[in-house]
Amino acid sequence: MHPLNWAIVIAYLLYVMIDGVRRARHTSDLEGYFLASRSLPWWAVGLSVMATQLSAVTMIGTTGQGATDGMRFIQFYFGLPLAMVLLGVTLVPFLHRAKVYTAYEYLERRFDAKTRSLTALLFLLSRGMSCGTIIAAPGVVFSAVFGWPLGWSVALMGIPTVIYTVLGGVQAVTWADVKQMVLIVVAMSAMVVVLLVRIPIAPGDALEVAGAAGRLRAFDFSFNLTNTYTFWSGIIGGTFLMLSYFGTDQSQVQRYLTARSVDEARSSLLMSAYWKIPLQALILLVGILVFVFYQYTAPPLLFNPAHEKQVRDARPAAYQALEGRYAAALAARRSAADRLVESPDAPARAAVTAREAEVTAVRAEALDLAQEVTGQPSRDVNYVIPRFVLDHLPLGLAGLFIAGVMAAAMSSIAAELNSLATSTVIDFYRRWVRPEGTDAHFLTVSKFATMGWGLFACVVATYAATLGSLIEVVNRFGSFFYGSILGVFLLAMIPSAGAAGAFVGLIAGMAAVAAVNFGAPEVSFLWHNVIGAVVVVVVGTAISAVGGRRKAGVGG
């Protein structure tokens, strides 16, 4: 990469770190460190909520998915706006008015200590692991693209993030998120502009080519439990996932607990309700335009440069033969696209679809060969955008994009480290180990807890590299517990529900999700949230009713 691009990346890293350290002055007590003394404006909290959810996986994986699979992925977010509105009238006022540090603290007040501890433990387990995955996702890609050891990539993002999160607490995390969100949107918008300039056809014709290749299909109305990206999975499964994530996951709950009032907390969530789907469409559009760009500029057969080199060295004849067939398929696809632009009729569209299928078939063979040679799943989709950025973006913009990817990773990691430390200290250390400690003592312990989780995340990141698809791994970790934890919070709103019902219901919900996960692994993980939440509410209500009747019987 050009030195100017590196200068932009380094300047960004330094700026975020220095600004974070500057915020440390405002965090002299525990409430300031974890909740910014409940003083932050709604727009900063709203941007922080969005930045936490938008990780580097989104910047690299989702754009790549746009290029290879089109707009289909957007259905995943169809349930988000409704979930945000529902949270705004249910859990947000509950949690904000309860003046709690963590969502799980509220469960002890409503049920008992063991329900609180179990939900907090599940959060620590799932988020602790996923935090490592979030650093690993861009780390793996940077290592392959720049030829670094994975440890360097992990350290480059991990160390500055840990420093500003440890020193500045939630203040540093939130204000860094605001800048990082702006950087991400600027980088993405600049990519769209550059792509529109670089693609040698009019924007309308570009959409015509993308549409003919199936990249503009945003809706799939089939009702299929095994398919994650359908309208119904998004609306039903997506609503439950978003309710769980934004309503019960401490990494998100802590964002809006820092807001000045209940109304500001609600408004911060509504920012996502309004903007998440358009932003996601912008991100997928970048991928779709990259796909159109590669109609007119020959793309590499394998986007992962490390795999490309290994395959070329190990099986030169086979790879060369595939390259020959790939070049012929690309030329035919280009001709079909040219014909479509000249006369956009049904036969021309069908020709583009057929030529695209030929290109995809050759690439599938190359991906199989890469898997055979390297012994690793290729995950080539995650390299489409980084490779395009480094090969084709103008000077400066590549640096801006790489900084944007780092910003996305760091904003998610920082929020998670901060929330992991909060739950460790508030739900475990202060609750069970040393309830009588002073504020200064807890503040010191909190800083060490943040540092410890940062170290753990970096170690996990180094080993998470070989886990499955970067996008789905992050969601899978959460979805195993998410629905059941949401079920407990839903149960908390039912006046007749008791502590025994909540605890047994939680166990039953997780057992049901585990049974579905192992018994019917083809069922999409989006449905796990629905199953978990429903089982907890049904079992929890039933147990509470039985317990209530027994008590009434004993009393009578």
Binding site: V85, G211, L216, R217, A218, I277, A281
Partner: protein, 38 residues
């Protein structure tokens, strides 16, 4: 604390606004799909 009726009215207004934006976005995506997809 606000009155429950005021809360309900505000919720209905918010729900209507958010859902309107959602429907308009989905409509645009649908138009894009039906206009350009073969």
């Amino acid at each position: 604390m606000t009155e429950p009726t005021e809360d309900r009215a505000r919720f209905r207004r918010t729900l209507a606004r958010v859902m309107t934006v959602q429907v308009v976005t989905l409509l645009l995506l649908w138009l894009l799909q039906s206009r350009y997809s073969s």
